[in-house]
């Protein structure tokens, strides 16, 4: 097949870019185990308040797991429980969150923690809090009249 020399160059360039980008995504998913925050773990939204671990929102130390702490959040119109929480610097934490009523967002501003909370589903994200500071949690899914008033805070302290 006849192909112009320059045409061959940009086809190789484009194809290799595609291969590199897809490899990075593949390594992230299959080797590092990154996945969407909600992986089909379910909970009855009407009895969230009584079920473990959502009966005690907040930070809990756990043993024998890949992470040291579990940070449990329950969202409802128009607040998060707990409204403020302290996390020790350098702690490996699994953030576990769900909602009691409608769809809420869970975005810890300035970090990669950004999940959608759907009624009936549990969203999780495991990370190491390795930068001290105060982080604002905001709802980024429009949930009703008080949507803009919905926030919480994580303080990463030494």
């Amino acid at each position: 097949m006849h192909m112009h020399k320059l045409e061959r160059i940009w086809l190789i360039f484009g194809t290799s870019c595609l291969v590199i980008f897809l490899t990075v995504i593949g390594v992230s998913a299959f080797y590092l185990g990154n996945k969407p925050p909600s992986c089909l773990t379910t909970v009855n939204p009407e009895t969230v308040g009584q079920e473990k671990p959502f009966n005690e929102p907040g930070l809990h130390k756990v043993d024998g797991k890949d992470w040291e702490y579990e940070l449990v959040f329950v969202a409802s119109t128009f607040s998060y429980s707990p409204a403020q929480v302290e996390v020790p610097l350098g702690a490996k934490v699994k953030v576990i969150a769900t909602t009691k009523d409608v769809i809420h967002g869970f975005e810890v501003a300035g970090t990669n923690i950004n999940m959608m909370l759907e009624p009936g589903y549990i969203s999780e994200y495991t990370t190491t809090f390795n930068k001290a500071g105060e982080y604002l949690i905001v709802c980024n899914e429009y949930c009703g009249a008080g949507h803009h008033l919905m926030y919480s805070k994580i303080e990463v302290v030494k």
């Binding site: 006849h2 112009h4 320059l6 045409e7 160059i9 940009w10 360039f13 484009g14 870019c17 980008f21 990075v24 300035g110 970090t111 990669n112 923690i113 990370t127 190491t128 809090f129 390795n130 930068k131």
Partner: protein
């Protein structure tokens, strides 16, 4: 009877003189822009917790 022209020695001329330098330059311009934005967003992702 009509004579078939299967054995003619005629060659198809391919005009290879058209310059594609401008196209190559714009492809690389766009490609490098995409790579730079992709890498910077990826860096942001890796740098945050």
């Amino acid at each position: 009877m009509a004579k078939t022209e299967l054995n003619t020695k005629q060659k198809t001329e391919i005009d290879d003189r058209s310059s594609l330098k401008g196209t190559l330059a714009s492809v690389f311009f766009l490609g490098i822009f995409i790579i730079v934005t992709w890498v910077s967003v990826y860096y942001l992702f890796v740098d945050r917790f």
